[in-house]
Symmetry: C2
Subunit: 240 residues, 2 copies
């Protein structure tokens, strides 16, 4: 029995696994700064923005606030950072445009080709904390050939809550063991495995820039361990 | 100002508009009957199955039962019909297979080509009472190139309830006026227009077979009126 024997769908973590959010947001912020004549440490801005991601979702996960999608959480964090980086007074459409930097992230070089191979044999979709509009716009721009857009918004529960993984399998009409999560993060895979998903780890050692310490290697013997989507496609029996 | 000026996404009714549910379910039922040596009026079976569709959803819309997706409602109707057509005693996997006939519907001849054209310029997706698994499996088999799978299940409200249209626009991060519904049914378009959607009527005079009386023509001056998805693509400025 190989990992692929019962798998019908492969769902993917997105930020870090499918797309290089850090390089892309630094590019978006720098471009905005050049256009407006603003000189800031855009790398620090991007890293700070991402650092507010887990605490913002934790408010929702812990039930301290009602459901809010990731565009909303990103926007609130952005308002905080615009104050911190002395950028108050932008027009609403400029703030909107900056916030949608997360809709314009570039895929890792192997992502589109690997997904195309996997799509020939499996249902493929994102299982991301990003909201449906963000994931749809990202896919359209980047050419990600998803069959379906899933994730936290559809489940109204952020990863790594078990409901998020359970509900997304249910929406596909599948048992958890028929779904494989592909992710660059060991904790995401652990939460998925705990509800019965199959697991594929794809190392993305550049996700957090040159000084990344976490998720350089698989913590456990996940069903598939590789460093590109082509490795996942090879392991899952898809032609090259 | 043309109908397309503000439109960002085209959402499609599916049963009757994108796919020929009647010919397809008759084919599926007949094939099952031949394999099992069962001789029944499969056309009557298909039409009866469809006739139970609105009453089943009405129980949910009216709040007389909690949310149940269309696979569940189809399955309940199927059990009723298996009794009516003297087909009790099928194995569970056979009933499942028959119920998933609705996942294996064929598109009208212009559907895939028209959608490919529209996808070059707009976000496209189903806005169907069918559930996500049904729509995903159908798209995969038929080659429908959706960007996103939406519909009643995502909104937890069946058409023509206004919440269904409103919530689906919201999930895309769009105002209702930025969304166009494409449908072969005047009542669906009327409900969408009432919440602010743009509208395209595509005549499908063969949907209900040779004796169809309803929806042969547009009841109103919808934004687009045509008889194929290529007509929608022409009207919406997409190259041929």
């Amino acid at each position: 029995m190989t990992p692929r024997d019962n798998v019908k769908a492969l769902l993917f973590d997105v930020f870090g696994t499918v797309v290089d959010w850090r390089t892309s947001t630094i590019r978006e912020l720098s471009g905005f700064g050049r256009g407006r004549g603003l000189d800031r440490d855009w790398t620090a801005f991007a890293d700070r923005w991402r650092s507010l991601y887990q605490p913002a979702m934790e408010e929702v996960r812990a039930g301290r606030r009602p459901w809010a999608n990731l565009d909303t959480l990103h926007r609130e964090s952005l308002e905080t950072l615009l104050a911190e980086f002395d950028m108050r007074g932008l027009a609403a459409h400029e703030v909107d445009h900056l916030n949608r930097a997360w809709h314009r992230l570039d895929p890792w070089p192997d992502a589109v080709g690997g997904l195309r191979r996997l799509k020939t044999r499996y249902v493929i979709g994102p299982l991301s904390n990003g909201n449906v509009a963000l994931l749809t716009n990202m896919a359209k721009r980047a050419g990600l050939p998803w069959d379906v857009i899933l994730g936290a918004e559809v489940a109204r529960a952020y990863k790594p809550l078990p409901e998020c993984y359970k509900r997304n399998a249910e929406i596909l009409g599948l048992a958890p063991a028929e779904v494989m999560l592909v992710a660059a993060h060991n904790d995401d895979l652990a939460a998925a495995a705990a509800v019965g998903y199959r697991t594929a780890f794809v190392a993305r050692p550049g996700e957090h820039g040159p000084h990344q310490k976490k998720d350089l290697h698989a913590d456990r013997a996940w069903d598939v361990v590789t460093d590109s989507f082509h490795g996942v496609a090879d392991a899952m029996g898809c032609r090259g």
